[in-house]
Symmetry: C2
DNA sequence: GTCTATAGGGGGATAGAC
DNA sequence: GTCTATCCCCCTATAGAC
């Protein structure tokens, strides 16, 4: 049961949380309705179909990320600090009831979710990669990061590893997640 | 529709394939029955509950992995070759209809699958990590692998990254998966 | 081992009252 | 915007015939 100021926003919050907790095929309108303290049909008023709801969650996340990285609080950080900020997003997910990242959650179920959702996930994943690549590139130029190969590939590896590490932590515990993040940092010192 | 010699084995094959394709919550007894060309109830005869079926799939995979790594064809390889063999497992999954690894699939849905399954996944993940750690350790001693930090942490990072990369490839394409594997190899040369 | 039949539940979604 | 009521489908699972 959750307080309501803005139903639509609260629904999105709950849906996002459930997506990261149980996956797209693991949650239902009933779950959201129960926590919100309303009936099933009320959710359908705001989001006619489950696909609509899923897409709205991802879209909001994309907007949020875009705002973050364009905000001076992040934009003006050093590459080192940017990377730490990035890792902290995932660390916070792990701390928040062992959530995994939206992208990983939906890609694992990719072939059993609506196509409109797939496209949204693709867009988000590209944006995350692009920012990370730019950050690694910048850091290598200024000499704080050292690594072989292309920044784009290194970005793909790091993003994949935190995505995988959040999942791994569910079976093997939070320490394993932290180990992966530490190793990823070590692998930038070379 | 699939030929039947051994129903139980065929069911396990289909279930494993569906798990890697659609996830635990994304497939049903009906899917298997249809492909096998039998009725729903026939599957329940072999595997009373869906949890039983899921556990059997993971157990078989664990046995298979154990056999592989103890077989002289793998056991006697160099660390370099062992690692290549390991990556080839994942490359083959990607080639096979864009499957993801069982562990990643089930950890993404971890909080919406039966507890008995969770335990099985935990066991498998530990075994994969343990073997990879030993291989990295061996390779570092013989000088073919170079990396900072503990072999256990490096193993966790590499395993997480291929797990994540298979998922990433679903949204961004096979090239991205290959990029991650190549980067992982580069990161062992330092 | 596989079938038919069916129980029993949950899911997504809609219509119409308030 | 939220309610009640309802539809229809799919799902897991079981009983009993063959």
């Amino acid at each position: 049961m959750v307080k309501i100021e803005n139903s639509k926003r609260t629904i999105l919050n709950l849906a996002e949380s459930l997506l990261q907790d149980k996956g797209f095929n693991g949650f239902s309108y009933a779950h959201i309705a129960a926590e919100l303290g309303v009936k099933n049909a009320a959710i359908h008023y705001h989001f006619p179909s489950k696909e609509d709801l899923g897409r709205a969650v991802i879209q909001r996340y994309r907007d949020r990320f875009k705002l973050w990285i364009n905000n001076t609080r992040v934009k003006d950080l050093s590459p080192q600090e940017k990377l730490d900020w990035f890792f902290s997003i995932y660390t916070d997910m792990r701390s928040d009831k062992g959530k995994v990242c939206l992208v990983g959650s939906m890609e694992a179920e990719f072939n059993s979710i609506p196509e409109g959702l797939q496209a949204e996930v693709e867009g988000l994943h590209k944006e995350l990669l692009k920012w990370l690549e730019a950050t690694l590139s910048e850091g290598r130029e200024t000499g704080v990061f050292k690594f072989n190969g292309e920044p784009a590939n290194k970005a793909a590896l790091i993003l994949s590893s935190v995505q995988g590490a959040l999942q791994m932590a569910r079976a093997l515990g939070t320490k394993k997640f932290r180990d992966v993040v530490e190793q990823a940092k070590l692998d930038l010192l070379v």
